[in-house]
């Protein structure tokens, strides 16, 4: 367990936008896998590594993220010492024109006594502890350790390709390169000493920069010695709407589920106290991941259902991702659809998308 390490999660990513799904919520607050938000994976990975001080920095639409994180109790981070910190700025730096937006981040690091920092993007879904990576960081001879794997280009843009020299040091960083120089794609996590990250941020403030991203840090490879660290397990990248849809469908694969969920490193999330799901007489449900509070009278195939979804008699749901509190009325027929929270699908309505171009219905819509 890591006792001298702190964590930072970047809840938004300047290159990733999930159209209407991402509008009412930060990227990190995207619902995923029936009962999670994607930040749950990164946050749980940190907690399961023994990290007890975690900062979360969001640029906009932070309300659903704040509601989700609450006091941090679900991750056992509601502590007197250390615990969970929601860092300013909560608002988009561009709209203020104030050059002091990174000071909150600077305060977070300079006020701590930890030695090492793990910084993660929130868009990676995996079950991983950072213990081994931090151990290698502590023993190795580099300034920054950057996590990568070899399946990045499967998930579409943005792909940050790392070109490493023979000793594993980064010698080039390319974003969405046409000719990929290496199969090594950055996996949204770095390990760095608290001293170095503090001085990087202090310098950024001095230069009047108002944003912070891992991409910017990786591009400092000429200035700092950045070494790659390979991850060989299963992971999913949420890079786009199609990528989100694709990643969700992977959860129906038992091999993926086993890789993501196990009892020793559980993925924590906010407890909701819904009722159990009930499958009524006449329902036909196969190959589906469903959540508490669902009431199913109709047919559901190859789909992910979040909490409290109601599927009425003679309705059919196929290859869909249905967010919480959605009501699907009698005789409706949906395939390849992502339905956001609180939607209502009326009787007999048919919606049909394509796996690469799923239909997205925005939060609260009545179709």
């Amino acid at each position: 367990m890591l006792s001298k390490t702190m964590g930072l999660i970047l809840a938004d990513h300047h290159r990733i936008h999930l159209s209407e799904l991402n509008q009412p919520r930060a990227l990190a607050a995207m619902p995923f896998g029936g009962r999670y938000r994607i930040i749950d994976f990164t946050l749980s990975n940190m907690v399961n590594s023994g990290i007890k001080q975690v900062g979360v920095i969001a640029l906009s639409a932070y309300k659903s993220l704040m509601d989700h994180l609450g006091t941090g109790a679900s991750w056992d981070l509601d502590r007197m010492q250390q615990g969970l910190y929601l860092l300013p700025p909560y608002i988009n730096a561009a709209s203020i024109g104030d050059d002091s937006d990174l000071t909150g981040l600077l305060d977070f690091f300079s006020g701590s006594t930890q030695q090492t920092v793990v910084i993660c993007d929130a868009n990676i879904v995996m079950n991983y502890t950072f213990e081994e990576m931090v151990r290698q960081f502590n023993e190795g001879n580099q300034d920054i350790l950057a996590l990568y794997n070899r399946d990045g280009n499967q998930f579409g843009s943005p792909v940050i390709s790392l070109d490493l020299d023979r000793r594993g040091f980064v010698r080039d960083v390319m974003i969405d390169a046409l000719e990929i120089p290496s199969q090594r794609s950055f996996l949204g996590a770095i390990v760095v000493s608290r001293d170095l990250i503090t001085s990087i941020i202090a310098e950024a403030i001095a230069r009047g920069q108002t944003d912070f991203s891992l991409e910017r840090i990786l591009k400092m490879y000429t200035q700092y010695r950045i070494r790659g660290y390979e991850y060989k397990g299963k992971s999913l990248r949420i890079n786009s709407v199609a990528g989100y849809f694709n990643a969700s469908m992977r959860l129906l694969d038992s091999e993926f589920r086993q890789a993501l969920f196990n009892e020793d490193t559980p993925i924590y999330t906010k407890v909701k106290n819904a009722a159990p799901a009930v499958y009524e007489h006449g329902s036909g449900v196969t190959n589906a991941l469903c959540s508490d509070g669902c009431r199913i009278y109709g047919d559901v195939r190859n789909s992910i259902l979040f909490r409290n979804v109601m599927v009425a008699k003679h309705a059919t749901v196929e290859n869909c991702v249905i967010f919480q509190d959605v009501q699907i009325s009698e005789g409706a027929h949906l395939s390849n659809v992502i339905l956001d929270k609180d939607c209502v699908v009326r009787m007999g309505v048919k919606l049909q998308g394509h796996p690469d171009y799923p239909v997205v219905i925005r939060k609260g819509a009545i179709v």
Binding site: G33, G34, R35, A73, L252, S254, R257, L260, F261, E263, P266, I267, Y268, T269, V271, N273, A274, A275, P276, A277, V278, Y279, E280, H281, G282, S283, V285, T286, N287, A288, L289, C290, S291, D292, G293, I304, L305, N308
Partner: protein
């Protein structure tokens, strides 16, 4: 310690032996119920939803599971600085070291706990009833009527009065007589085991009861009759709604099935009166390619590949392909192997049912050594926790299967780590 106007004491009770092996290693209130819950979630959630923040849970039997389940009370929003949920087992003090002699004695021994909150009102609740009730309304009624004690009552069918404590009331709803399980009576108002007392009045009654060596130190048998005898004001508070004692195998089975058959009776979807519970952190449940589900309640971590009909499954249950589970209750972590057939079974925590096992009233040539018609009524079978039932084993209905019977032990293996 901070003052609390109302303190609730939950009688989590003794061994609950009418539930047989289900309470072999857990106290009755910790028995899993209704897929997502344990029995004690109902009184605890009622307390939270009624704004009661100081709750004592009295138990002297197997409190560890209950202790671990309740933890810091966080799941019920009872991790309060100025109150909270406390497990209260018996203890030794300078002059005395006694196990709880009865329900009233259990409260008597914890007078200092209650005094610490300087309450006006103490609620005495049972830990083995399934119901949703706003205790705050009852407390207000109690105060308006300026009662010394108020007992929640509900009308039961006349033919069932002999199963209950029956209250006779006058036209002002004052209780005039208390009849414990009468053969006949001219009232059908049954006590729900929910008592509201002025703490001063109760405190005095407990002291007097304790000094009476003939008393069996029980609320129903001693405290209430003594208060009536002393002409204290004891009111009846009428409740209408779902209420079920789950103290027997058949009533526990029925109450679970009620969730499927009459889901509106105890509406678990009601956002204004949530039933809180503590569940392990598991992913959503998965339903496989060949699964068939027909009137089934599921929750987190379940994986269903076979056929399940009219059954209630707790978390982390696996039903493999070809298995058929009917009219059954599977508690957390139960694993049902391929082609096994379970009919009217209640299977306790973490037990593994081997492939091709059959248990149920229709099983032919099943082992009869475990049959226990006294506890296992209506053909229901019980399977204890942490067992492994060997593949192919067949058991008759009304069995109570444990790992302790030697005469059939080749079929049943206890996988508990010690004992």
């Amino acid at each position: 310690m901070n003052r609390q106007r109302v303190v609730a004491m939950i009688l989590a009770g003794g061994q609950g032996s009418r539930l047989g092996v289900l309470t072999a290693s857990v106290a009755k209130p910790a028995v899993p119920f209704g897929s997502r819950y344990r029995i004690i979630d109902f009184p605890l959630s009622n307390c939270t939803n009624s704004g009661i923040e100081a709750v004592g849970v009295l138990t002297q039997y197997q409190p560890l599971e209950l202790n671990a389940y309740i933890g810091n009370g966080h799941s019920w929003d009872l991790d309060r600085n100025s109150g909270g949920a406390f497990i209260l087992p018996p203890y030794q003090s300078s002059g005395r070291s006694d196990w709880y002699k009865g329900t009233a004695n259990a409260i008597y021994q914890n007078i200092p706990f209650i005094d610490g909150y300087r309450p006006e009102i103490v609620l005495i609740l049972s830990g083995d009833h399934i119901y949703k009730m706003n205790y705050e309304k009852m407390v207000r009624y109690h105060e308006e009527k300026m009662a010394d004690a108020t007992i929640a009552v509900l009308e039961v069918p006349w033919e069932e009065i002999s199963r209950f404590g029956i209250m006779k009331t006058n036209d002002r709803a004052e209780i005039t007589e208390f009849l414990e399980k009468p053969a006949t009576a001219d009232s059908n108002l049954a006590s729900m085991g929910v008592y509201c007392f002025n703490w001063k009045a109760l405190r005095t009654a407990l002291m007097e009861d304790e000094s009476n060596p003939k008393s069996s130190n029980d609320f129903g048998k001693n405290i209430i009759p003594a208060m009536l005898e002393n002409k204290q004001r004891v009111m009846a508070y009428r409740f209408s709604g779902y209420w079920k004692d789950v103290g027997t195998v058949s009533s526990l089975w029925e109450a679970n099935m009620d969730l499927l058959d009459y889901p509106d009776q105890i509406d678990l979807h009601d956002a204004s009166w949530r039933i809180y519970s503590r569940n392990p952190i598991r992913p959503s449940h998965y339903i496989g390619q060949k699964a068939v589900l027909d009137r089934v309640a599921l929750t987190d971590g379940d994986e269903i590949y076979g056929t399940v009909r009219h059954s209630v499954l707790s978390h982390s249950v696996i039903v493999e392909e070809g298995a058929v589970v009917t009219d059954s209750i599977l508690m957390p972590g139960v694993h049902v192997g391929k082609n096994a057939k379970l009919d009217r079974c209640i299977v306790s925590i973490n037990t593994k049912i081997g492939a091709n096992v059959e248990i149920g009233p229709e099983v032919k040539d099943g082992i009869k050594d475990y049959v226990n018609k006294r506890l296992c009524t209506n053909g229901i079978s019980l399977v204890a926790d942490e067992l492994e039932i060997r593949p192919g084993a067949k058991f008759a209905g009304s069995s109570m299967i444990t790992g302790q019977k030697s005469d059939a032990s080749e079929n049943v293996v206890s996988v508990r780590s010690d004992d």
